[in-house]
Structure formats: structure tokens, C-alpha cells
Amino acid sequence: MKKKLSRYVYRFFQEALKDATEKNIISTQQEKDVLAFYEERRGLDFIRVLVSIGSILIGLGVLLFIAGNWEVISNPFKVIIILAFLAASLASSYLTSKHRPITSQALLYLSVLIFGAGLFLINLAYNFNVEAYTINFVWALGALLLSSVYKDTILFVFAHFLAFLFLTLGFNDPIYIQGFLLLVIFFAGNYYFGYRKLITFGSLTLLLVFILYVFNDLDVLAPYIALSFFAIGLLFYYFKHQINYDIFQFFGVALMGVAGFALSFKEIWQEIEWITNGSWFSLPFALAVVIYMFTLVSKRQITPLIVIAAFILRYYFDTLYDFLPRSLFFVIGGFMVLGMGYYIERFRRLEVEDEKS
């Protein structure tokens, strides 16, 4: 199987090989042989986007028409309609797969949408009284099934989105088993889909939401939750490995930033019974986080810079809002935001130039 490279990397690689051939470092045959192991990953193209949007619009139109007349249709006929649409969509995807692969793919996405709509509509028609989070769980399983059968990355990412809805909607319900099952599937899927960055990003997001769910279910106090997430952030950042380490690093800094930001408020610390004045903890902690973020900025990272900017704005708002005249407050605040935006953008450009060179 050929290894897929992004368009930019593939073309750069192709140019490098061509250059090597022209300089007689490798032969033309060798150039072809090496290139035979790689292929350019298909990016978003106009026709693909257009056909996808078209299929979604047709699907939505049909569903709206049916929904508008839903009450006058008998229940068994409703099920037949849903199944017929699902079968038609899958069959059309099959029939167009050989000559029109893009259309076939769009019809596959339509099938998943029809399946999800079918779940909600059947639940409504028969008053099954199934909770929205359960429906999202089943929908995510459906998307996972199709993504694994067709090895489709977009469907796998969509399954992440559905799983996110499932976790957030069922936040106060017992969903340990389902949540854990989904996480196992998603992390196994990372391997199946060749450790793509977007997928790792989605899986890590779900893992963090699930951890938050567990803390919430166990009634853990907010300061302990924030401290735990800070520790997880440190672990993500410093535990070195080969699987999308940059994504883990990003999550690490972002988690430390968000948790540190939350812990800069004295009220959070005061939730701990023996702490009467939270300022004794919040101020030193915030200071330590900001200093730590500065050390990360010195390693030419952009995320810690955003965290520092958030801290500066947070203290600016908290301390000067009551003392300065409103207009002056907002003018200075506006200049600060503009300045930070300019500085972050300049920093980002330098980073990109560094990467290129």
C-alpha cells in the first residue's frame, strides 16, 4: 500500500527527487521506484465540496418534507420510509463508486445523516423515550461502522463529533461503559487510520471530556479538577513519544493554560475547606504559571504566548475596570489586544519561516 503524503510534502519530495536525478545522484528508474511508494493525499477540491453540499441539501430537503407531513404518516410507513432512503443512499453510493467516486463518497455521508435522522424520528414516532445522549451514542456507532468498512477519515472524525455530543449530553447520567468503549474504539482507530493529526486531536479532546465527566460524577472539588488537568497537561507535554507528539504538546500547554487560568481565581481555591483566603494560593500559582509559560515561549512556541495574553487581559479587567473611566479602560484594553495580536502574528510568521528554512 502506498503511503499518503500531504500535497505540499509530496510535491516537495517529487521536486527533490527530480533535482537529484538531474544532478545524476540517482537514476530515472530509481526516482520512479522511490516515488512508487508514495502518493499525494487528496485534498478538498471544488467539485468534491460542491457534490457533498448538494447531497446534504437534498437529504435535508427530503427530511424536511417528511418531517412536515410526519404526523399524517402511519408509524410503520415512517420506518419503511427511513429504511428505504437508507438503502437507496447506500445502493447509490455502491453504484457510483466505480465511475464517480466523489459522488459515491458524498452519498455515503448522506447515508450516515439519514441514519441519524432515522434514529431521532423513530424515537419520536414510537415514543421510545430514549435519551438524546443514547441516540447520539448509537449514531456514533453507525458512523464508526461505515468509517471502518470504507476506511473513511471524514466519517471517523464525524463519529468523534457525535461522541462529543454523547458525552456532553449524558454528562449527568451513568455513561461510563459506553464512554470507555468509544474511547477504546477511537484510540484503536488512530492506528487504523495511520495516526492522522486531526484524529489524534479529536480522540484526545474526547479523552479529556471523559476525564472531566468522571471527576464530575465523583463530585471532585473544582480546584482538585483544575490541578489534575494541570498535571495531565504536564504529562502530555513532557512524556515524549513518536505518535503525534506535537498534538500532545499543544494539548499539554492548552490544558495547563486553561487549568492555570481557572486557578488564578481565589474563589476556586476557597472551595477547599481549610483555605479561608484563596488569594494566598491563586496569586503565587498564577505567577508561577505565567513564568513557566515565558520559559516555554523562549522555546519558540506560540500557544504559551496566547495563555500569557489571556492572563494579562484577565488581570487588567479585574483590577482596572472599577478604577479607570470606561472609555479609557476600553481604549487601553483595545490597544493591548491589538498589540498582543500583532506580536503573536509576528511570532507565528517567524515560526513558519523557521520551519521552512
Partner: protein, 200 residues
Amino acid sequence: MKSLKSLWASPLAKVVISFVGLFVLLFSLTVVPLMTYFLGDDVPITIYNANREPERFNDFVYVEVGIQDFTWVPIEAMPEDLRDIESNNFYRRLNEGTFYAVIEVTNNTSRVIQVVEEEPSEGLYLEIDYLFLSVDPVKTEEKYEETGRYEPVYDGIQITYRNLISVLDTNVPNMYDRLKTETIDVTLRIYRGRYILINP
């Protein structure tokens, strides 16, 4: 002849696997309702307009859907440690866990409901969505006239069940209009905290 492996990986097989898989998932929704349908017990209930202050809205009849003996229960139906209705503890406790209404049908028209915190292993019960104290508006107003201070007088517990009102609204034609002048009898089939509407 094609090998089994190549058949399995063929586009047609993929379509068949997808359709069968999605079909099974779609019908997984029916497992619990079907169990309720075949194993549950029927409980007749009466829906009525539970609005207790109609005189305040003379220009229109405001309908608040209530279910007789199901939505309003006397304070004795609560566990003893939850009956401390004077303090804020009541509301704090309500947010801590899931509550269940154990239903004991004595005859077709009256039933006893006991609120419990542990999910019962058998018998008829429904999962409670929310519990709140029921204010007696007349007694509250009388007390206000007496003392000059507004202090709500509670006379029982108001219970809502998961989606029950919306299920009734979907299935009982013109429910809100009918409740302005009459009561409506329906039948629920209950099994392990779950219910389905049998009639209508």
C-alpha cells in the same frame, strides 16, 4: 470462483455489511420499549389541569398539565430525612442523586407513591426527573396578610417524570384545549422505571 476474503472486501459486501449493521443499530432502540411492552404492568392515569390559581388569570384559562396522584404527592411520600421542608437542604439534596417513585396501585382510581433514593429491584416505579416543593398559594397569601412577610407555605411535593408530559402532549389529541374543560384518562405500561403509552 472468488475467494471468501475477496468477496468480503468487495464493494457489494461493504454495502450489505453497512446496511445490515445500520439496520441492527437502528432497531437496538426498540429493545427496551419491547421489553416494557411485553413485561410491563398497566397503570391507568388521569390527566387534569393542575393550575391552582385560575382566578388570577380571568381573561384566559391557563393549563398546567398534571397527572392525578402522580404529580402531586403529600410530604409523607418522601424519605424522612428529606422532609425538612423549612430549610434549603431539601433543594441541595434533590440535586445529589436520582429519585424514584414507587407506585402501589390499590385499585383503578387510587394509588400510593413513595419516593425512594435507591433504584428498586422489582415492582412498579418510575424515574423522577425533578422534585420540588408545592406552594399553597391561598395559605401563603393568608400568612402574608397576617405577618406582612412573604414566606411560602408548602403543602406537598411536586414531581415531574422524564418526558412524560411531552409524550402525553404528542399522543393525546388537543390535550391542552381539552384540559380546560375536562380530564383525560390514559394508560401507561411500566417496567423497571421505563414506560410506554398504551392508550391512546
